[in-house]
C-alpha cells in the first residue's frame, strides 16, 4: 500500500515538474494530464483503505471489508472536468499553432505578454 501511495505522489510530482520544465505547449498540456491522472489515482487508493472488494451484499450481508465507493464516485466529476479543460486547452493550442508553429511557450510569452 505504501509503495502504491508513494508512486501516486511521484506521478503527481513528475507531472507538475513537467508543466514547468517542458517548453512545448502541447507537452505542458500532456504533463498536466499526467498530474491529474496521479490525483485520480490518489482518490482510488484512498478508496481501498477500508477494503478491496466491491460493496455488494450477498444474502443481505456484506461478507468482506469493502472499498469505499464515495471517493471513486466523486472523482468521476473531476475526471469529466479535467477532460473538458484538456479539450479547451488543446483547441486553444490548435488556434495558437497557426501563428506560432513551434508552440514554444517562452516565445509565445514574449510575443503576447
Amino acid at each position: 500500500m505504501l509503495v502504491l501511495e508513494a508512486s501516486v505522489f511521484v506521478t503527481v510530482l513528475v507531472g507538475f515538474l513537467g508543466t514547468i520544465v517542458k517548453k512545448n505547449l502541447l507537452m505542458k498540456i500532456v504533463t498536466m494530464d499526467v498530474m491529474s491522472t496521479g490525483i485520480v489515482a490518489l482518490f482510488v487508493v484512498t478508496a481501498t483503505h477500508s477494503g478491496l472488494v466491491t460493496p455488494i451484499a450477498r444474502g443481505g450481508v456484506f461478507d468482506a471489508p469493502y472499498a469505499d465507493p464515495v471517493p471513486q464516485a466523486v472523482i468521476l466529476t473531476a475526471i469529466v472536468i479535467g477532460l473538458s479543460i484538456q479539450t479547451l486547452m488543446l483547441v486553444a493550442a490548435m488556434k495558437l499553432a497557426r501563428d506560432n508553429p513551434t508552440l514554444e511557450t517562452p516565445e509565445i510569452d514574449q510575443t503576447y505578454l
Binding site: I20, I39, P71, V74, I85, M89, Y112, L113
Partner: protein, 476 residues
C-alpha cells in the same frame, strides 16, 4: 427553504442553457436572474439568515447560508446587473449572455457551498467560463492569456484536489469543518490552491496581464465576481481555525504592500488597477469577519473603475496626462477610486473601519500606513486633465456606473457605527490629503513600463512549488 435555495441555484444554469436555444430572451432572463439574486442576497444580509443544510448523506453536498455569503451574493448580483446594462444595446451577443448567466450561477453556488468538493466543481466551472470570456474576441493574444489563466488555475485546483483527498482520508467527509482534524500537508495543499485562485500575493501574478488583455467588461467581471470566489473560500477556511487564519493573514499583509507598491509604479491604468486589486484582495482576507462588507465595496468600486477605463482612448498615464480624459469618466474614476481609499460617505470608509477593528494594534498601524500608498495611487486621477466630452458617453456605460456607484453609497448602511467616532473620521481624512500632496509633489512621475519576467507561464507555475514548500513549513 431548501427547495427554494436549490431552485435559486439552478435558475441561472437552466437559463444559461435555455438562452443558447432562445437568444431573443437573453436580456430579459439575465436581468431577471440578477434581480432575483439581488433580492435573495439582500434578504440574507438584512435578516441575518443563518442556516445550513445537508443534501443526501453525510458525504453529500452541504450548503450553508449566512450574512457573509449574503454580502458576496449582493456583490455578484450588482456586478452582473451592471455588466448586463453595459452590453444592453448589443443584442447579438447571445453567447456572451449565456456565459454571464453561467458565471453568475457558479459564483452564487460557491458563495453558499460548505464542502470542499462542490467548491472544487464550481470553481472549475467558473474557470472554464472565464477562459471563454477572455478568449471571446478570439485574437491570438486573448487566447494565450486565457490559456495561461486556465493552466494556472487548473494546476492550482489539482493541488487543492490532492488536499481534499487527504482530508477525506482522515475524516471520511468533505465538509469544511473536517479541515480542522486534517494533516498539515492537507491544509497546505488546500491553502495553496485557494491562494493561487484568490490571487493573494505572488501567486496572484497571473492577474495583472489578464486584466490588461481582457475586454474592459470582462476585467470588471473578473474583479467583481471571479476573484471574490477564491477570496471567499479563503475566508471560509480561515474562519475555521485561528492557526489557518494566522497563515492567511501573513500572506494578506504581504499582498497589501506588494500590490500597492507595484500599483504606484505602473505606467498603464489597467495595470495600476490590477496591482491595486492584488493589494485590496489582501485587505478582504486579513479580517475574515469583516470580509463581506469589504468585498462588496471592492467589487463595486473596482468593476466601475474597469468599466470607466474601457471608455478611454489611451491607457498610458503619460498619454492621459497630455490628452486628458472626458469629464464624466474622470468623475466616475475619482468617486470609485476614493471609495476604495476609504473616504467617508462611500462604502470604503465603514469597510476599512470594520476591518481594522478586528485586528491587533500593530497590524492596524501597518494597514494604516498601506492606506497612504493606496491614497497616492488613486489621487493620480485627480490630477489628470479633464475636458468636456465631445462624443456622447454610451447610455449603457452610464447606467452601469449608476448601479455600481449607487451601490457604493448605499453600502454605507452595512456598518453605520463607523460614523459615530469622530477620531476615525479624522483619521480617514488624512491619507487622501497626504496622497494628493505626494502626487502634487511629483511622486506620480515614478513610473516604469517594466514587465516582470515573473509573469511568464513557467514562473507562475514555479512560484506554486515555492509557495507549497513555504506553506508546508508554516502549517507544520
Amino acid at each position: 427553504m431548501t427547495d427554494l435555495a436549490i431552485a435559486w441555484i439552478l435558475l441561472p444554469f437552466g437559463a444559461g442553457l435555455a438562452l443558447y436555444l432562445l437568444p431573443p430572451l437573453a436580456r430579459g432572463l439575465t436581468l431577471a436572474i440578477a434581480l432575483v439574486s439581488l433580492c435573495v442576497g439582500l434578504g440574507i444580509t438584512i435578516n441575518q439568515v443563518n442556516t445550513a443544510f445537508v443534501l443526501l448523506d453525510s458525504f453529500g453536498i452541504s450548503l450553508s447560508i449566512d450574512p457573509l455569503s449574503g454580502y458576496f451574493i449582493v456583490t455578484n448580483a450588482l456586478v452582473t446587473l451592471a455588466a448586463l446594462l453595459h452590453i444592453w444595446q448589443e443584442r447579438d451577443k447571445a453567447f456572451f449572455y449565456v456565459l454571464l448567466c453561467l458565471l453568475h450561477g457558479s459564483a452564487n453556488t460557491v458563495f453558499i457551498s460548505a464542502d470542499f468538493l462542490s467548491l472544487y466543481v464550481n470553481i472549475e466551472v467558473l474557470g472554464i467560463v472565464v477562459f471563454l470570456l477572455i478568449a471571446y474576441p478570439r485574437s491570438d493574444r486573448c487566447l494565450w492569456i486565457g490559456l495561461r489563466y486556465l493552466m494556472v488555475s487548473n494546476v492550482a485546483m489539482l493541488f487543492y484536489l490532492m488536499g481534499v483527498a487527504l482530508v477525506y482520508q482522515t475524516n471520511h467527509t468533505f465538509a469544511f469543518r473536517a479541515l480542522m482534524q486534517a494533516s498539515p500537508e492537507a491544509v497546505a495543499l488546500i491553502l495553496m490552491g485557494l491562494l493561487a485562485k484568490g490571487a493573494i500575493f505572488i501567486s496572484g501574478l497571473w492577474l495583472p496581464q489578464t486584466n490588461v488583455v481582457a475586454a474592459p467588461i470582462v476585467a470588471a467581471l473578473l474583479a467583481g465576481i471571479v476573484e471574490n470566489t477564491g477570496v471567499f473560500s479563503l475566508v471560509r477556511v480561515s474562519l475555521l481555525h485561528s492557526n489557518i487564519a494566522d497563515i492567511v493573514r501573513l500572506f494578506a499583509l504581504a499582498a497589501i504592500f506588494f500590490g500597492s507598491i507595484f500599483a504606484l509604479v505602473a505606467d498603464d491604468v489597467r495595470r495600476m488597477l490590477s496591482f491595486s486589486t492584488l493589494g485590496q484582495l489582501g485587505w478582504i482576507v486579513i479580517a475574515p469577519p469583516a470580509a463581506g462588507l469589504y468585498a462588496l465595496m471592492h467589487g463595486l468600486a473596482k468593476a466601475s473603475l474597469f468599466l470607466s477605463v474601457g471608455e478611454l482612448r489611451h491607457y498610458r498615464l503619460s498619454e492621459l496626462r497630455q490628452e486628458g480624459l472626458p469629464r464624466p469618466v474622470a468623475i466616475a474614476l475619482i468617486i470609485a477610486g476614493y471609495g476604495i481609499v476609504g473616504v467617508p460617505f462611500l462604502a470604503g470608509f465603514p469597510a476599512k473601519v470594520l476591518t481594522l477593528s478586528y485586528l491587533e494594534p500593530w497590524h492596524q498601524g501597518l494597514l494604516y500606513g498601506a492606506g497612504f500608498l493606496t491614497a497616492t495611487v488613486y489621487s493620480k486621477f485627480l490630477f489628470l486633465p479633464r475636458y468636456p466630452s465631445k462624443t456622447l458617453i454610451p447610455l449603457g456605460y452610464r447606467a452601469a456606473t449608476m448601479v455600481l456607484l449607487g451601490g457604493l453609497f448605499l453600502a454605507n448602511g452595512g456598518y453605520t457605527e463607523a460614523y459615530s467616532s469622530g477620531m476615525s473620521l479624522l483619521r480617514a481624512a488624512l491619507p487622501p490629503l497626504v496622497g494628493c500632496g505626494l502626487v502634487a509633489l511629483g511622486v506620480s512621475r515614478w513610473e516604469s513600463s517594466w514587465r516582470g519576467a515573473w509573469e511568464r507561464l513557467e514562473h507562475l507555475l514555479g512560484v506554486m512549488l515555492l509557495l507549497l514548500l513555504g506553506l508546508v513549513g508554516l502549517a507544520l
